[in-house]
Symmetry: C2
Subunit: 287 residues, 2 copies
């Protein structure tokens, strides 16, 4: 297991962590100033400064990417199938322009939440079928661009509105069906917030292996959690045994960035520099 | 599948649903008045009117019980092991006095939340080991009293503070280890709120079979969920395909009550009679 205690060369910042404090160019500059070597930007943050400007800012700051957030939202009614496909192809193109090593996929929940306006449904089994179909289509396109796709299993609390893929096992089952050759083009993004509770966590990490482990996200689970979406904790402030999960991932050969992704009204209310300095300190102490 | 549309003979009320509107005796009387044939009372509600008075009120009203809430909270530090054991034995005695067909077990999460004052831990694997050990002890006592125990797997959102058993598979694995003979003394309480998202739900219900299916709880999952504990929905107001889950449970031979259990600041704010009338209407239409 890598020693994180003395520097932060393996820290990547998911830019949603400070999305309320500045635009993407400001975040990139703040990261560069703090010696943070990598980011994972969100599509809406890229769009609001413009793709070309984002590409230049990343390059000028000398940053790497640990991923691109996010593709997916595959579930919809029939009238929105082409919207889903085109949207995800554009995502691949943007990720390619930015030099991202993978796209993080949030697969979508029930169609009325995934693609608003879609006909309402309570059929989560059908939603899962749609995910697999639309993901297969995106994978064809991503293969040509040589852009790996990372399915992020989301906490079951988000099954209805964000992702109906809710366990590592479920994500890996999809990987095995759509990419049986383990080509490196399809894998998982494991976020401790979503998976820490899973009784099969360790066995599924071992099953994933290095070629399916495309990204590793950290934050913490607070007790009590005051907001189901936006009350994630800074690493060390909650109950997740983060080091054990990182040890398991690295035991499989994962040697990528440890990406900090905190959606939190509390942390969004603090100055960007304070948040980044805290991230660096906790990366050393609690990850 | 039983037809619920024309009467409510299979409706049981979990008394937490109207816990803010009256004490247990008042709830019992209101249920009797509405023709609700069964309840599942909570220990604190029984304690606050007194066990003897609760027993008399149930008997005088001619109600059945569908369970007794709740035993468990098995995780603790070493100094609280005897507290856990004694507390759960008293629970068995009370359930026996009340004529409950089973005790619903919420097994506890990390020890500091399960038994406050216990030394803090982030080791959920160890917590799960403790659950099994303390449950085995309780099962010995419950067998003598001929009182079946029903493990309720809780939604992963409660893994830290309420229950580290979070899937039906995990609960059934425990049942198989502690009661391999399927004696009828150990099984599961399945609550659609906790399990609806699970990709293995249907296969695990089939695995459970009639002798492990001891209780069936209903409410609904709202989008958005405003409070992680107390924003459960009335059946029909959320995204759960409740009828499909009930069909699966009944296909295994389950023929017990469909117990309504709604923790909700919204519903706690309405008059008891209105809540009960709504429960009856939704039991017919949405369960
Ligand atoms: Zn993530
Ligand atoms: Zn329940």
């Amino acid at each position: 297991m890598r020693d994180f205690s003395s520097d932060h060369r393996w820290l990547s910042l998911n830019t949603a962590t400070v999305r309320k404090q500045g635009d993407l160019v400001e975040i990139i500059n703040a990261c560069a100033k703090q010696g943070i070597p990598a980011i994972d930007p969100w599509r809406d943050q890229v769009a609001s400064v413009g793709l070309d400007r984002a590409v230049r800012a990343v390059r000028d700051a000398g940053l790497e990417l640990s991923g691109y957030c996010r593709g997916g939202m595959f579930t919809s009614d029939a009238s929105r199938r082409s919207e889903v496909r085109d949207d995800n192809r554009r995502c691949v193109d943007e990720a390619k322009a930015l030099g991202a090593p993978c796209i993080v996929l949030v697969v979508g929940g029930l169609p009325q939440y995934s693609r608003p306006g879609s006909e309402a449904s309570k059929d989560i089994v059908r939603a899962r079928g749609q995910v697999e179909e639309a993901l297969a289509d995106m994978l064809d396109y991503a293969r040509q661009a040589k852009l790996p796709l990372a399915i992020e299993p989301l906490h079951p609390a988000y099954a209805a509105d964000r992702a109906c893929v809710n366990t590592t096992k479920q994500a890996l089952d999809i990987c095995d069906r759509l990419d049986p050759a383990r080509s490196g083009m399809l894998g998982v993004a494991l976020d401790v917030y979503h998976i820490w509770w899973d009784p099969e966590l360790m066995s599924q990490i071992a099953r994933a292996g290095k070629d399916r482990l495309l990204a590793f996200h950290v934050c913490d689970w607070l007790v009590p959690t005051k907001d189901i979406l936006n009350d994630r904790g800074m690493m060390g402030d909650g109950v997740i045994d983060i080091k054990s999960v990182r040890a398991a991932v690295e035991a499989e050969g994962f040697e990528g960035y440890s990406e900090i992704e905190i959606f939190s009204h509390d942390w969004w209310g603090k100055p960007m520099e304070e948040v980044l300095r805290t991230c660096i300190a906790r990366h050393k102490a609690a990850v």
